[in-house]
Amino acid sequence: MNKAESMMAMFGVTDNNLKRLISVALSKGGDYADIYFEHSVSNELNLRDSEVNGAGTHVDYGVGIRVIKGEGTGYAYTEITTMAEMERAAGIAAAIATSGTPKLAPAEIISPLFKERYRAEIPWDGVSFSDRIPTLTELDELVFQADSRVVKVLAKISDSNTKILFFNSEGIIAAEERPMASVAVTCIMQHEGKTENGSSSRSFRMGYEMLSKNLVKELAEEVVSRTAIQFEAGRPKGGEMPVVMGAGSSGILLHEAIGHAFEADFNRMGTSIFSDKLGKKICSDEISVVDDGTIFANRGSVSFDDEGVESQKTYMVKDGVLNSYLHDRISAKYYNTDPTGNGRRESFRFMPLPRMRATYMESGRSKESELISSVKNGLFVNNFSNGQVQIGAGDFTFFVKSGFIIENGRLTTPVKDINIIGNGPEALADIVGIADNSVIDDGTWTCGKEQYCAVSCGMPSVLVSKLTVGGVE
């Protein structure tokens, strides 16, 4: 039994059932329909007050049925996968079409071979909570050992396995299991009457093998150093200044400043600030920006997206030119191009939208030290918590948890808790130096565009000549 057959058995449907549902979905004249079955089991295990004393398991099961007519979408889901319930949902989704000829179900079923982008060597469903507990207790011990100012540690392991069966009106069937796991730790320190907190996390599409000693050590060291430096940090004088973005998590700048604005639904609707820029030069020749769903075990990777399209590495910006938007099937048809494998969704409860995967900038030629030394008065930032963008106006922000003031080309006073704001196209054009150290940040990045989606981001160190820094007077 192949993967699709085994999923069909699990969801209790046959080839003919799937074809029948497509027929109902297209009965009012829809152009295209798809069916997305999902069964997810997620677990979490929590450490608090140095004891692993909280756990949870969550099961979600259902099917979403989508019909596309032109650029319009009808969507309905049900948690009950009897044919009667699914036909009812298909009938509701079908109503997006109010004219046209009913279409027949596909005669043939095509099962494309998708390259494997992740694998749980030790699947989570075969691992007891008791096998996960030592990771949390060891993490707790290492954090407390690292600094006497630590007063509290909160740590958590989350894992999930999602079984997916997809079928569409083109006859394409796809099935797979998607693992996801993360370890997150927060540390609270007190010193001379002050309290500070810091967090670190790692997330991969992996099984239990992810919980290595190295991971625990790395997280413990990182969270302690991130928290400890806060005692020395203050807030800089606010206003416009040059900012060096450190390698890795500065990828949030790409995600917010340009990534969302490159999602093709915003461009199709004409609401993105980059709507008229396809094929045009938008920044330095040295800049190439990628959205990549093919990095093995990466949090943002997918073997195929939630529309049955194979994942790919998509150059959004190539040598300074806007090369491609990020497409789902609707926008690809609108732009008369192929989908890029970016049609993603939070779960069967949501219709797919163009979403990022792992978004990063490729390395440049400078050294990070050269970028810093070129700044007389500015800021170096290297740890962030969240960001946001206004797609049309182009204003984006990201919140800086830590960094340093740059004075005469040298890092001096640590800084914390400041918001940085800029304008997407202007900030991209204002990148005047790119280092040779591009790296993906493997934290628990989650994008919240209408629905939640796991992503990751990366960046080499870059110098932006002008951003507006939140700060004191």
Partner: protein
């Protein structure tokens, strides 16, 4: 369907007992939702769903686990609960994990809070579609600078039933209707500023259908040609649509978990005057006709009227049973219900007298904030920095929109610079936060 939900909850509690749990709590919700959206006056999306989920909390000799599933056939549910109980037994015991004292639980008669519309199932798809298109027609073709519009009608019915192994049971049901509009306008250069507006109600008949699209369009056009101001101190007027953003850090800091984990700038401040002596955060959870009203929290603890902040003094933390026991205190309630903020300790009247216009007139020069763009606050210190959108005003007159600016400060200091509260909270919100005016706040721009 509601009867079925009660049976599932009862079955789950029996199964938990059979699996060796010393106590348990189960809750189940049914959610029915539909929406229509129209983009540029063409039907763009329709969405319909019905779902139900069972939530389960298991207590086994101090050990505690929380579980959920939407697979509630008896055999599958039993297997799930047996496994959940086995998993819970692997955890470290914590004797503070218990059900609440019975004395604290809601036991009275749940008088109607005016949150449910019995006509919910009688509203036709045609009516919903018509509302969406009417909203769209307030925008479409009205101004050449508008390049895109998206209007949506949505409704939902949420039913929740909860019971525990000690005999508590309670239920709530709430309907909701909304109409919203979002517009983008073409500015000079490539910018396409967007704006939105929404109206919502719990009764279909109360839904304000006229004006939503027009409001969104006017707000988008008002954002054309923004300017960046010089960094400095400005008076800040917060529109009632976004004012809750500066309330949330206070509520988070009053949460028992944050207090217990030493991760709150209000830890150890109970009974102290932290804020200006005329500031009140009041909770009136039994008011009729408000979204935030409720009789019990997620543990079944009865809600009651309380002043969280009274004359600037912290009178209460938000403490559930677990955090209260950890702190050696009495449980209060897990979080706010119908929260309102004022400088006089009164609930806002139904017909507001102090509106945004009144506040702007007496606020001199400053920045009217109509939206936030990212940013965050430090839970330990209360230091915050938020991106903003809004307008520069002088003597009640809005002069121009602003762009790329941050507001930065400390949340306690900010609240101590509060000078005016309106009595105009936007209806349809769970919290009743009116227009707020803060004096001399740090903004970062040029």
């Amino acid at each position: 369907m509601e009867k079925n939900i009660k049976q599932i909850v009862s079955l789950a509690l029996d199964m938990a007992k059979g699996a060796g749990c010393s106590a348990s709590r189960a809750g189940a919700e049914i959610s029915v939702q539909s929406s229509f959206s129209v983009r540029n006056n063409v039907l763009d999306r329709l969405h319909s769903s019905t779902g139900s989920t069972l939530f389960l909390q298991l207590f086994i000799d101090g050990r505690y686990g929380y579980y959920s599933t939407n697979r509630t056939e008896a055999d599958e549910l039993k297997n799930f609960i047996d496994k959940a109980a086995e998993a819970t037994k692997l955890l470290a015991p914590d004797n503070d994990r218990v059900l609440p004292d019975k004395d604290l639980l809601f036991t009275g008669i749940a008088k109607d809070l005016g949150q449910f519309d019995s006509d919910f199932n009688n509203i036709t798809p045609e009516e919903k579609r018509d509302i969406t298109f009417s909203c769209s027609q307030e925008i479409f073709g009205k101004d050449p600078r508008i390049i895109s519009s998206n209007c949506e009608y949505g409704d939902s019915l949420e039913y929740y039933y909860m019971a525990d192994s000690e005999g508590f049971s309670g239920e709530s049901r709430q309907t909701s209707y909304s109409v919203s509009a979002e517009c983008s306008a073409k500015d000079k250069g490539n910018a396409r500023p967007e704006a939105w507006w929404y109206e919502s109600s719990m009764k279909f008949a109360d839904l304000q259908r006229v004006g939503c699209g027009k409001n969104a369009m006017e707000r988008a056009l008002a954002r054309l040609a923004p300017r960046k101001l010089k960094s400095g101190k400005y008076n800040m007027v917060l529109e009632n649509t976004v004012a809750s953003r500066v309330v949330s850090p206070i509520i988070s800091a009053l949460n028992g978990a944050a207090i217990h984990q030493n991760n709150s700038f209000l830890a150890g401040k109970l009974g102290e005057r932290i804020f200006t002596s005329d500031l009140y955060f009041i909770d009136r959870p039994h008011e009729y006709g408000y979204e935030g009203s409720r009789y019990f929290d997620s543990e079944g603890i009865a809600t009651k009227p309380m002043n969280i902040i009274d004359k600037g003094v912290i009178k209460s933390y938000y403490l559930n049973t677990y955090n209260a026991r950890k702190l050696g205190m009495k449980p209060t309630i897990e979080g706010p219900s119908l929260l309102s903020v004022s400088l006089n300790g009164k609930l806002p009247s139904h017909v507001p007298e102090i509106t945004l216009e009144n506040v702007l007139k007496v606020s001199g020069k400053g920045i009217l904030v109509t939206g936030f763009n990212g940013g965050n606050s430090n839970s330990s210190s209360g230091d915050f920095s938020f991106g903003i959108q809004g307008f520069y005003f002088e003597n009640g007159i809005i002069l121009h929109p602003i762009k790329e600016m941050n507001v930065t400060g400390n949340i306690v200091e900010l609240w101590n610079s509060l000078k005016i509260t309106g009595d105009d909270p936007k209806r349809g919100s769970r919290w009743l936060i009116p227009t707020l005016m803060f004096e001399s706040v740090t903004f970062n721009g040029n």
